[in-house]
Symmetry: D2
Subunit: 347 residues, 4 copies
């Protein structure tokens, strides 16, 4: 029997072959360590270019939890917390890495995994209006993910409103871009990397889920947040000895737009899967325009699909229904998508 | 004009005069520091007696936030969090002291500031049933307050159920007793200190709000949680050099039941105030049987009472109404209560 | 038999009687909590006056370990450490409270418990000259104690040199003044509180060891270090509910120079004890001009003195000799000192 | 002109080609994430075999600082510190990652970068003999590196003595094996991995410096230290999404002894370089039997070698001399070594 087609997540395979090739070609070249090599230098330039140029700091870290914890710890004072949606990755799936660094995650309710500018504004206003505010954790920055954990996007107008509220309260805005490419490549997206450099104080462009073996590129837009940042990376265990591996991967992904082409292809496939579920009469947990799709299915359907396909159980949806997650990625094949769509049609 | 009568909180005055007297009498006696003196030794014995005897460790700390942070840090592993009600003091009013020590507060929703055994059980079950549980903060202990921040009490049956769930999940149960006496002295209370020693793993008996200048007595019932506890106290800045002051105060409060008499008197006064508000047609935010009362009042009434009485704004209650807090304490005079009741009647 | 005369430490008794009297007089006065009361306001003014006036922030905390941990945590970035002498209280006797807040104590060798400006300068220069400095803890501030743990004083010229080095490296200078009064009252001292406000960024004036029941007054001279400081106090468990007790004590000590009179008397007694040991042919571990004296004695002498006097073993001094500590305090009586001196003479 | 021959460190190149080949071969295979894949399973088995079999837990992490911080944080109580040599990597070159997790590094003096069993015993005895021990950081475990930061090895007898002291004090022994292979492959080594499983509580086998792109294999021998370890890895940002990459690399290195062959070759080359320096009349900072060599050279010699070779400045050695470090690695070529030896001969 053949192996199941896995749509469980977007990191089931290795890396795009171009990365492995370049790794092999440059393998015995000697370089200095810790990200101060020529590969990283080139990759930084390419990322700055992709962001529309300008004065930006770019650092490469190994993984997302580490990047989030490092970035947030570099900003907050000990008595401050980070505002995020209840569903935010830092609030749910990082084993308390943020709290481990001493900071409360100030989680706000969110049905669709997005925050609104109004919510954020209320959170800050509520804090400062409380006469006991010194007894409470001060909101010190805002974390959003783009796309969110449910694959949702913020429109440019929404980001502008959030950014304005953050600046009003002098609170840096940080965007977790673990799946940044899948967001930018969505037909629904009206935001560019250049917009993000203007609206956010820092954000990261995810590699792990988008064609790299591993690696995240953190872009620090706000000059006030750059000082001594490499100390933070080292202290948080994120300074890879052979930092060249990070540079080499981002160089490969960004030198001719590979990153965006791979993401675009994955999103197209996700849209096809979404359409198939909808055509088969199923509703979606949210209307995600990116590479993660969350159909709400009865158990019998779930069991049947499970015979040939891998997905992730997401949440109970009541009435014997469950939301499950199907992810596409840079590595998803047409064949796999077609088989899945066929199977959905035959349900 | 006379000063306002303050019902703002239960720590507006100094200490019961018996404490000041004993302090003056023993002032020039020399003793060793850090809680290893004869005063602390006697106070420990008295508290153990009040708890029905048995094998108990008693430590004295200066304040509540410190006691909570120290007790919780002594129990949790770095990857664990403490389960508590959303309204729990550690979640709201300690400037993130728990997170500062590296731990997430796992806040559960609670309309009336109490947790149920079912909620706690679901929280633990939910964690361990999640196949990604290693990516999530593990619930490691349970925090409840008795009385709660809204003055509510748990019945013995409720505490037994909570204790059973905690033991099922091998999670210590910690009770914040900042206002312990006001709870035990309530006519509605069916729990004794001895019951707490059997149901909880550790709890504290508050002094600051109940007649002492300052000081909290932490009782560690579970022998497994006692090792090296004094290191924790010192590290958290809670080891008072002149520890005798803590011993002396608890000795005074416990040697002939003063602690309970003071609490009882305060609760009686609170019940009278509650009855007055109810008789005047106002509802209460919750049905508190202890020294904190939360009438829901229109702004005009609030303003009128404010001319002569101090209280604390608690929360907006919708429709132009607000819940405000009136506290009684060991120091509340009959005169002050009578004036307040008169004023309520005249509204 | 009579109790031994204790010279073990400077916190064996309660408080100066004037404090207890004022506490009794004001006991039933109602005040707001957490240090925002009239007592604290008056004490702040008096301390600012004692410091020569000017723009200073004054906060009251309960104990020394807490004050040190709070002050240091308010200054350092996560990747920074605090430079101090190996013998510094924060390095030795606070159960790692500084490390608990995430920071390395960068301990420099010191024979006599003092740091030199040259040592500090080398420490900073060494860090920045190392091409791997991002892999090392960055020195971020300097901690000295005045007097030191061995009772030693810095001269004004020494403090000026240290202050200049700190400013050169943009590193705040913090002075632990647990025994500040005993330092200022020493005949050898050429420094005033006003000098400290100009040379240090922040320092504290100790109450616990100098006539108060407890309490330390932290003076923040550098305006850049003041923002949101009360959040730090609360988070570190140092915000006393009945903050008035701290204000009241410092008010009593500072309103007519009582603090300095008490310290001066203790130092005079210490000098008499020192002279007695020297006259009896014993050497001192260091030449302390303050209330702590460290004679180096053979075991037979130690045992003989132990029959009637309490002292603290300090350290092995080789050749069967030990250094022991004799402390005087605001509470040391002439009678006790005379008995000790007699005993030394008879050795 | 040709590029310089770099002997700066042992992580200047990519990975052994066999690793890249296997990565390419398996690239599109789908697997589950976070180290629960088949590659990791096989690599674990091979490592257990290399350790002589038995009941061992093996975890794969990305880098050394992370592995150290995670392992140490998993063992210590909040009031405990880790004993290590002053020159220990965790004390010097990890930007305070250990302190960041709340723990003091208890650094003991060491001329040659090794600790002795006597030193460790004294450290523990000194702590518990001090009557103020609750005011001090309790030593809670011991960290040694094998080889040390100066390339030194512990003999089996030395390790047995250290292990016995650790067990006497109930303090786990942790061995940092960033360069474990170079140690085991040294002709001077009389220790096996199996010995380490019996003498240490946990240790790691370094990949980054020994042929892998990155990765460290942590072996937990003591069953009491295993519980919930994966939570620690995730919280510390060390759980690689594509954990298969770690498994694949260790599988390649361990399946036919490649790891040991590569290390052996590097050590042979280091011995040749050492012999050349000695033959040329230079002394070595220490007598290292592994891949790091520290000749003490005058500046003129250093400058001359710098024309064609890369090395690392290590420390000033007085009299105008400096110790510099030359490293060999799995990737060092015969050609490079021969050129260096020729150059040394011609000095």
């Amino acid at each position: 029997m053949t192996q199941k087609r896995l749509f469980i997540c977007d990191y089931s395979e290795g890396a795009h072959p171009a990365i492995l090739e370049r790794m092999a070609q440059t393998n015995m070249r000697q370089s200095v360590g810790y990200g101060e090599d020529e590969f990283c230098a080139r990759a930084r330039e390419m990322i700055v270019d992709a962001c529309g140029g300008g004065d930006l700091d770019v650092h490469f870290l190994v993984g997302g939890t580490q990047t989030n914890a490092t970035a947030i710890a570099s900003i907050l004072k000990p008595y401050q917390g980070v505002v995020c949606a209840e569903s935010g990755h830092i609030n749910v799936h990082e084993t308390g890495a943020i709290e481990h660094s001493g900071h409360k995650v100030l989680a706000l309710p969110s049905g669709d995994s997005k925050l609104t500018a109004e919510q954020i504004d209320s959170c800050f206003a509520g804090h400062y209006n409380d006469c006991n505010h010194e007894h409470m954790v001060q909101p010190g920055m805002v974390y959003i993910s783009f796309p969110t954990e449910l694959g949702m996007l913020y429109s440019k107008a929404e980001l502008q409103a959030i950014s304005a509220v953050c600046r009003k309260w002098e609170a840096p805005l940080y965007i977790d871009g673990a799946r940044m490419g899948y967001g930018l490549a969505s037909p629904q997206c009206d935001v560019t990397l250049k917009d993000l450099t203007e609206l956010a104080d820092l954000f990261y462009i995810g590699g792990t889920k988008q064609g790299a073996l591993f690696g995240e590129a953190l872009v620090i837009c706000n000059p006030a947040l750059r000082k001594n940042f490499r100390y933070f990376i080292k202290q948080n265990g994120g300074m890879l000895a052979k930092g060249r591996l990070l540079g080499l991967q981002f160089e490969t992904l960004f030198e001719d737009g590979l990153y965006f082409r791979l993401a675009s292809s994955a999103v197209t496939k996700a849209m096809a899967i979404r359409d198939a579920f909808k055509a088969a009469g199923f509703s979606m947990l949210v209307d995600s325009p990116t590479n993660q799709q969350f159909p709400v299915l009865p158990q019998a359907v779930i069991d049947r699909l499970a015979e040939h396909f891998g997905y992730e159980f997401w949440q109970d949806a009541g009435d014997g229904m469950s939301a499950v997650r199907f992810c596409t990625s840079w590595a998803t094949t047409d064949e796999a998508v077609n088989e899945l769509i066929d199977a959905i049609r035959k349900l």
